[in-house]
């Protein structure tokens, strides 16, 4: 038996009347943590709901572990944990009852279900609030309960839609650790989030959606290389910047230099690696106190891509 990818979408499209939710998405995901990014309304939640068979594709299909998803694909959910992006819960339910109910739907009842629910609560540090009604919890607590229900049976595939939204820094950090651990033991996590620096701290593999279409997929470095059209910029702070500016221009490592109001030097280059090597070399003689390559992080790449294609 050949092993199927955890997630495979083929030509996946969905329209809501005349509004386009997602158009012609083809992706395949094996394992590890993948960040699902995109501006508001770019189709992330639509994708998450179609992955879980809650809404039907207008065209194309979704396969999880090689099984085509639809309203009758419940057996596949043994291997999947899903946390929705909306702040929804059942009315008048306590946290523990909610988890017990969902454990029961997986065929586990009685004391076993309670034990499982308590373990899941433990994982998100919510044991103390187990008996609290979900409507009386703060948004961050409900987020943790939502993550707990996805973790109930330690599934192979975790689909987390904006789980960090509304969480406090302590919970964020522990959730990020949880996601990282899940990947190290061979699981797959699809993590949709707006908080880019958090996504960046667990993974450099991303899927970027925009206007319902796939804008970029892969590792950050690769994506940055692919964009490659724009020159890179290096920002330096130090004492002998004018001589460095002249130096890199004369060695033709820079296409342009400029000084900011603060006195920092900006070097534009199309040969980043050579420039970095050269700078490291000059640096030993002193004169450079700090420097940084711009557009290197996820946020910069995100803005570059989304900005490029939306205007």
């Amino acid at each position: 038996m050949t092993s199927s990818p955890a997630i495979r979408c083929v030509g996946l499209s969905r329209w809501y009347g005349e509004v386009q939710g997602l158009a012609g998405l083809d992706i395949s995901i094996d394992s590890g943590v993948i960040g699902l990014l995109g501006p508001n309304g770019s189709g992330k939640s639509t994708l998450m709901r179609m992955l879980t068979g809650q809404i039907r594709p207008s065209r194309g299909f979704v396969e999880l572990f090689g099984v085509r998803m639809g309203p009758d694909s419940h057996d596949t959910f043994r291997r999947v944990g899903y946390s929705p992006g909306e702040d929804v819960h059942f009315e008048n339910e306590r946290g523990i009852d909610f988890l017990k109910l969902l454990a029961g739907l997986q065929g586990e009842g009685g004391p076993a279900a309670i034990k499982r629910a308590e373990e899941a609560l433990q994982k998100v540090s919510m044991s103390e609030y187990a008996g609290k009604k979900m409507s009386a919890m703060s948004k961050g607590m409900r987020q943790r309960i939502k993550v707990a229900q996805a973790l109930l049976f330690e599934p192979e595939l975790l689909l987390l839609d904006e789980p960090l939204n509304g969480m406090d820094p302590v919970s964020r950090r522990s959730l990020i650790d949880l996601v990282r651990n899940h990947a190290t033991i061979g699981g797959t996590v699809l993590l949709a989030s707006h908080v880019l620096h958090e996504v960046e701290s667990v993974t450099n593999r991303v899927i970027l959606l925009h206007h319902g279409r796939l804008l970029a997929e892969g590792r950050l470095g690769e994506i940055r290389e692919l964009i490659g059209r724009k020159p890179r910029r290096v920002r330096l702070i130090g004492t002998s910047l004018r001589s460095i500016a002249g130096d890199v221009l004369s060695k033709e490592l820079a296409t342009g230099v400029s000084f900011e109001d603060t006195g920092a030097l900006l070097i534009e280059t199309r040969q980043l690696n050579e420039l970095l090597l050269h700078l490291s070399d000059i640096g030993t003689k002193g004169g450079i106190q700090q420097f940084d390559v711009e557009d290197e992080n996820l946020e910069a790449i995100f803005n570059l891509l989304v900005g490029d294609f939306s205007e």
Binding site: S138, P169, H194, G238, D292
Partner: protein
């Protein structure tokens, strides 16, 4: 604004809901500028905002806003506060601009001025094109901007923001932070921000109160909390270089190496003193790699925050 009184002065403020003590004897003063309220879920941030709004009476102690007790004549005092709640909220049944003007009228603005201001503010928050639409058709990001406009429409002297960037995409977030920053810098409106996103706090605020379970754990300036660890450096290595070789080289020079936030990032500290930039470049040259970044390692607000909560268990 020539206020001589502090913007906010809490004097042993205690708030109870039934038997549950939401705030316990909080004494602190906020002279003005921008203040962040930090704390895990359920720390008492929202309760504090509500009691300053005069919506929750204190069990004991008092809260003074611009020198006036918030539990007395709170209605007039609320006219000086712009409150942006965490949840979506708007007055429905009318267009966006009409709802906004209506809220200004509730604060005593004459009809014409209210309309004028509502239009201007919607342009300011970037919803000019959507002015006449119904707010219920707005997206998450638009609603968040609309909430900011609602909080500003009656020209408050102090702005309470509860998670203003929640659910916003990166560009929406940058826009929101920029707008708030301009109001603070250019118009002297004081800011009190409750947020879980510490980068936002670092961007906007100069003072921080850390709350946990109704107690004030720390009250300090952001600058003090994030003061650079002495002489430490943050180093980024070009993608294809060997991190291990560099670390080895650095350790042999008596420098402590810790992994940074990213794969290609290292944190260097010298227990005996300062690390000079030249020294780092020299290490790079010795291990035949090129650096792609070198910066003094500021302590992040996140570290400071977690440290302030360190004595509590979760």
């Amino acid at each position: 604004m020539s206020e001589t009184k502090p913007v906010l002065d809490l004097d042993a403020l205690t708030v109870r809901y039934g038997s549950f003590q939401a705030l316990t004897g909080i004494t602190a003063t906020f002279q003005g500028g921008s203040l962040a309220l930090l704390g895990p879920n359920g720390a008492g941030k929202s309760t504090m905002l509500r009691s300053i709004l005069g919506l929750v009476p204190p069990a004991s102690g008092q809260a003074l806003l611009f020198g006036k007790d918030t539990s007395q004549k709170s209605a007039t005092l609320r006219g000086r506060i712009g409150y942006m709640p965490e949840r979506d909220c708007w007055v429905g049944g009318m267009s966006g601009v009409a709802g906004l003007a209506h809220l200004a009228e509730v604060c005593g603005f004459p009809r014409e001025d209210a309309m004028l201001r509502a239009h201007d503010l919607l342009h300011f928050v970037g919803l000019g094109e959507e002015r006449y639409r119904d707010v219920s058709s707005f997206s998450v990001g638009m609603r968040q901007r609309y909430k900011l406009a609602s909080a500003l429409v009656h020209d408050p002297d102090v702005l309470f923001l509860d998670e203003p960037t929640n659910g916003l995409d990166p560009r929406g977030r940058a826009y929101m932070l920029d707008a708030i920053d301009r109001i603070r810098q250019e118009h002297g409106v004081h800011i009190i921000l409750a947020s879980h996103l510490l980068p936002d706090v670092e961007r906007l605020c100069d003072q921080v109160w850390v709350l946990n379970r109704g107690h004030l754990k720390a009250a300090d300036s952001v600058a003090n909390l994030t003061a650079a660890a002495r002489g430490a450096k943050r180093v980024r290595l070009a993608a294809r270089d060997d991190v291990a070789a560099f670390s080895e080289q650095a350790r042999s020079a008596g420098i402590q190496v810790e992994p940074g936030k990213h794969d290609d990032e290292l944190l260097l500290t010298n227990p005996d003193g300062v690390i000079e930039s030249e020294q780092v470049f020299a290490l790079a040259a010795q291990s035949k790699i090129s650096l792609s970044g070198l910066q003094p390692a500021a302590r992040s607000l996140e570290d400071a925050f977690l440290e302030a909560l360190a004595d509590t268990t979760f």
